[in-house]
Symmetry: C2
Subunit: 345 residues, 2 copies
């Protein structure tokens, strides 16, 4: 039987569409892969899943348009390990010999003398003003491109003291899953860190999939000028334009993003105001705090809930009480996280 072309085409398309529909139905019938496989089932995991569902389902009373899907994450202690010392501080101490070589007059001046001595006990006792002097000398005075090269080189060679691994290996797998899960659902994920914005930007894209413009951190000034060959350069200054910690976190979010987040994740009193600011907006909000209660797999510190007070990443009982009262969710590393690191057996 002869078939006119148009009719054959219509039949072919009908077949093809039926085939596509059948395979699509088949795919839809498969259970969706768990987006948070490193989380144990429990209220923390459920809170994340429920929040994403209700803010991204069209017609939901809590629906958030994609442009407003802003989620902010503290870094140290929330996305990666901050004990026994913040990574940026380890970096600054490692740069002291090079800084002294460039400025020999610092050799016999404190706190540089102590750092050069290698006396770990004395270094651990350095005061905050001492650490500021070390930060000034190691984080400023160079061009932004020289700084990028220096940090990149450090990242390639530095190893943490406990696991002897590169620092980017110390990210928490469950939080990496949250970052990816939120992004897959139209969220923009920002890092909001007390560490230096320029420092974290150098590894944030590779480590977390967060590009430089989505890193909010402590902001140092730069100065535009020209090098000896007349090329424009930006030189890093010791001035701090914004200290992105505590009250500085909502201020930094306003400065860099200009919108209030709908979800925020932290782990210490430095994140309290960011979570308050996030939670105070209308509609569905998610505020979560990582509690370090797993001395075996990571570290245990608070002092909330009787955990040891290590002075780094302080999570006070008053923060814990505010979280309980205001519907923030406390994540127990010990109970909520099935697996913490990719390198775990």
């Amino acid at each position: 039987m002869k078939t006119p072309h148009s009719s054959a085409l219509a039949r072919a398309l009908a077949w093809a569409l039926a085939f596509l529909a059948a395979t699509t139905r088949f795919a839809a019938a498969q259970p969706a892969a768990d987006p948070l496989p490193s989380w144990n089932d429990g209220s923390a995991k459920l809170a994340i899943e429920n929040f994403v569902a209700k803010t991204t389902t069209a017609g939901s009373p809590d629906f958030v348009p994609p442009a407003e899907r802003i989620a902010t994450f503290d870094q140290d202690g929330t996305l990666w390990v901050e004990q026994p010392m913040y990574a940026q501080l380890v970096y600054c101490l490692s740069r002291v010999p090079a800084a002294v070589a460039a400025k020999p007059e610092l050799k016999d001046v404190e706190p540089f003398k102590t750092v050069l001595s290698g006396d770990r006990a004395a270094i651990a006792k350095l005061s905050f003003p001492d650490l500021e002097k070390i930060a000034d000398v190691t984080l400023s005075g160079m061009t932004t491109e020289q700084f990028q090269a220096e940090v990149s080189q450090w990242l390639a060679t530095a190893r943490d003291p406990r696991w002897q691994r590169p620092y980017p290996d110390l990210t928490y797998l469950p939080m990496q899953e949250v970052l990816r899960y939120l992004r897959a659902n139209g969220y923009t994920t920002y890092i909001v860190t007390g560490s230096g914005q320029d420092f974290v930007r150098i590894y944030a894209e590779q480590t977390y999939g967060v590009p430089p413009e989505q890193v909010v951190g402590t902001i140092g000034g730069t100065k535009f000028g020209y090098d000896q060959s007349g090329q424009p350069i930006l030189t890093k200054l010791p001035d701090v334009l914004l200290n992105d910690d505590k009250t500085g976190k909502p201020e930094g979010i306003h400065l860099m993003i200009g919108r209030r987040p709908v979800a925020a994740f932290g782990n210490s009193t430095g994140d309290r105001q960011m979570l308050e600011y996030t939670k105070a907006g209308p509609g569905a909000r998610l505020a979560m705090l990582v509690m370090h209660d797993d001395a075996t797999r990571e570290y245990a510190y608070g002092p909330a809930q009787g955990l040891p007070d290590t002075k780094i990443g302080v999570f006070t009982q008053s923060l814990y009480d505010e979280a309980t009262k205001d519907g923030w969710i406390v994540i127990s590393m010990k109970n909520d996280w099935k697996r913490i690191f990719t390198f775990e057996p």
Copy 2:
């Protein structure tokens, strides 16, 4: 003749694919719509088209990965009219009566007394420190949300003195086309303005399709605190953290974006360092300056090329010479733009 299902399906799919291929070829054979219809054919339009083609065509030696496709645009005089007075300055002057009502002690103090007098000649003669005092009082002291409400209300009612239209109508159609054309080709378009970041953010999304996080401007500080009901608020401070003009533009770009742009557009000496910084990177770069040489359809001012010196949006001969020498492209509003405003007949 009986046909097994699998064979019928294969035939149907082959038909459907052939049909799709044919229609796709047909579509490809149609000339693409001109993405820049308000531009006259000429070297400026061609430079934009060539730049986009070579930076976005896979395999091109000048190919730029999407994440690095950053284009920055000055606002006043580049995206919209800046004569006879910057829109933000008009706003600040309009807010003086409300500011004085809130702080009656300012009524008999200069420069507020002069602004309240309505004496246009005297207002036009106010000094820069006078204008700073007016900016302090009208751009700070309120919460970020109150400021947003005040600016939104002004935008809804204010009319420019020449065309008697809302300020957002004064955007240049050819530049709106460039913004859209670049975004359609994977570029992220940032505004980099000497006006206040918080001010421009309020209308940038609706006016230019540029969301708040992609507006880089002069940055004022904010202070986190709580209102009387205990809700967290950010109060705008008079402190200027970054003056986003001249050398401040590349500094602001580093602060807010953290990557060097590959394309930059400006119109005055305030944009010179941004264009130098953009042009100094490797690979293909596009640096363009809008020259206001059309007194009939818009305004004519320089003083480059013998144009009048109006002290606003100054385009010096030395900037013109640098552009010529370094391969920046000067856009003549008179010759390169077929149509300037949407409201033109």
